[in-house]
């Protein structure tokens, strides 16, 4: 994998500064409104602002004027999307100078909030979602802006399954291992500071577990990374008392 380097000092727009609100009306095309707070980034007033809505191979791009004069777009309907489920947004601020298109700031993978919903800053680290996943019971999905734990929607009461001690014992430590492996080894991500990036959030979560040190940096060899991951998973299992909970469950099952 090629590591992406930010040589140009491009600024990252935080999700709290780029809020997208979706409006849905019966029988009409959904549309969005955006609330941008760009002051703290010290961007030039004449820098251009664009908002993009995207989902798989569909993209819509909207011109919101300039940093100094955000111009509400008259038509923010998401007419190209078959369904708004899963649509994400990105906000780009680009330089007006030639050559055109130099990126000054960007916020990506912004999820919309429906107009009737309250802002929720306490999203779970690993949302669980029911989905038809063939004959597997559970698997991780990395296709969205944060990992999801998919539970087979045909397996039964998926919420009950996700809460069961056996499921927790088998699935959660392995999920943590897979997520940390992807972050540290596949993607070589070692930044723990980024408040929006799911990888940084997971590294902060693992570092906060009892007895777990700071994560190895991207240049460390894989053995060091594996050791750290194993420490984190072990600490996680201990903290959740997974063995005790599983033994209790197993005893109950066998006594039936």
């Amino acid at each position: 994998m090629i590591r992406k380097l930010n040589y140009t000092g491009r600024k990252k727009l935080l999700k709290e500064d780029t809020q997208i609100i979706l409006y849905e009306r019966e029988g009409e095309t959904s549309f969005f409104d955006v609330s941008l707070n760009l002051k703290r980034y010290e961007l030039p007033d004449d820098a251009l602002v664009f908002v993009e809505a995207y989902q798989q191979t569909t993209l819509m791009r909207f011109d919101f004027g300039t940093v100094g004069r955000i111009k509400p777009v008259s038509d923010c309907r998401l007419g190209l999307f078959d369904s708004v489920e899963g649509v994400l947004f990105r906000v780009k601020v680009t330089s007006p100078a030639l050559p055109q298109g130099k990126l000054l700031a960007e916020g990506d993978q912004i999820r919309f909030r429906r107009s009737e919903e309250q802002p929720d800053d306490r999203l779970p680290l690993l949302p669980v979602k029911p989905q038809d996943i063939g004959n597997e019971i559970a698997k991780l999905d990395f296709s969205e802006e944060q990992p999801l734990l998919l539970v087979n929607s045909s397996a039964g009461d998926w919420q009950e399954i996700a809460r069961s001690p056996a499921f927790a014992a088998f699935v959660y430590p392995q999920s943590l291992r897979e997520i940390l492996c992807r972050i540290l080894i596949s993607e070589e991500h070692d930044d723990t500071e980024d408040p929006d990036n799911w990888r940084s959030k997971w590294l902060r979560f693992a570092t906060g577990l009892p007895g777990v040190s700071d994560p190895p940096d991207a240049e460390s060899d894989n053995n060091q990374k594996w050791d750290w991951i194993e420490d984190a998973v072990s600490s996680f299992a201990t903290k959740l008392c997974l063995l005790d909970r599983f033994q209790e469950y197993w005893k109950e099952e066998n006594s039936r």
Partner: protein, 241 residues
């Protein structure tokens, strides 16, 4: 024939048939599923689909776009049953017989779309070109480098670009890919566009992913972008001059 969609049972039977081809490659496709009420269902609107040949992915996508986009059907791209039905309907084209009478086998996602799998959703042999055509409907010709191959053999350029949402939906990038890799006379990819070699489409996606951090690629002009490419692209750059 009126377009229908395979239901869960129909999709499973079609999948079973695809699996069976590994052992018994001469078995005919289960066309009865197309109309069998237990394996397929009608749609809320009537769409007449013709059994016809497609010169390339572009022609297939244009035909399907003409039939589907104004049909009033909703959530088309995520309708696995509809695209599976179409795969079966055009099965002889998607999995043509070779000289020994055997079918060319594809991975399942090319015939039964995995609409929620971000690694595979674009691979369906009909939904894939349809999506690209639709994304560039204002001028589908700009995506020709991804639509010029046969429906049964999409080619390496497609695999490299269709999997990257921010590239395949970008008009400038699609113009660039066409300019670099499509031979205008033959309407075929230039030699060296496929594979892992210097200046290949695979290398271009790496370079564009890096550019994407510095530039808003929607705003850069194609000639400027060509000028920014590293030396390994000289061969293709020269062909565009």
């Amino acid at each position: 024939m009126m377009l229908r969609k395979l239901n869960k049972s129909g999709i499973q039977k079609f999948a079973d048939y695809l699996d069976s081809l590994k052992e018994t490659p001469f078995v005919e496709s289960p066309d009865s599923l197309l109309t069998d009420a237990e394996a397929s269902e009608s749609l809320p609107v009537q769409v007449d689909i013709e059994k016809r040949g497609f010169r390339d992915r572009f022609e297939a996508a244009a035909y399907l776009d003409g039939k589907l986009s104004l049909s009033g059907l909703t959530d088309l791209e995520r309708d696995a049953g509809l695209w599976s039905w179409l795969s079966l309907f055009y099965f002889d084209q998607l999995c043509p017989l070779d000289s020994s009478g055997k079918r060319k086998l594809h991975e399942r996602a090319k015939l039964i779309p995995e609409v929620s799998n971000y690694r595979k959703y674009y691979r369906h042999l009909l939904a894939g070109p349809y999506r690209i055509y639709k994304a560039h409907r204002d001028n589908p010709d700009r995506a020709m480098a991804l639509l010029c191959e046969s429906v049964s053999q999409p080619g390496d350029i497609v695999e490299q670009f269709a999997s990257r949402q921010e590239l395949v939906t970008n008009r400038v990038v699609m113009e660039l890919v066409k300019t670099l890799y499509l031979d205008q006379e033959s309407n075929r990819p230039r030699r060296g566009a496929a594979g892992k070699g210097k200046g290949s489409a695979r290398r271009l996606t790496d370079v564009l992913n890096q550019f994407d951090l510095t530039w808003d690629l929607h705003m850069v002009k194609v000639p400027d972008l060509i000028g920014m490419l590293p030396g390994e692209f000289d061969r293709f750059r020269a062909a565009t001059a």
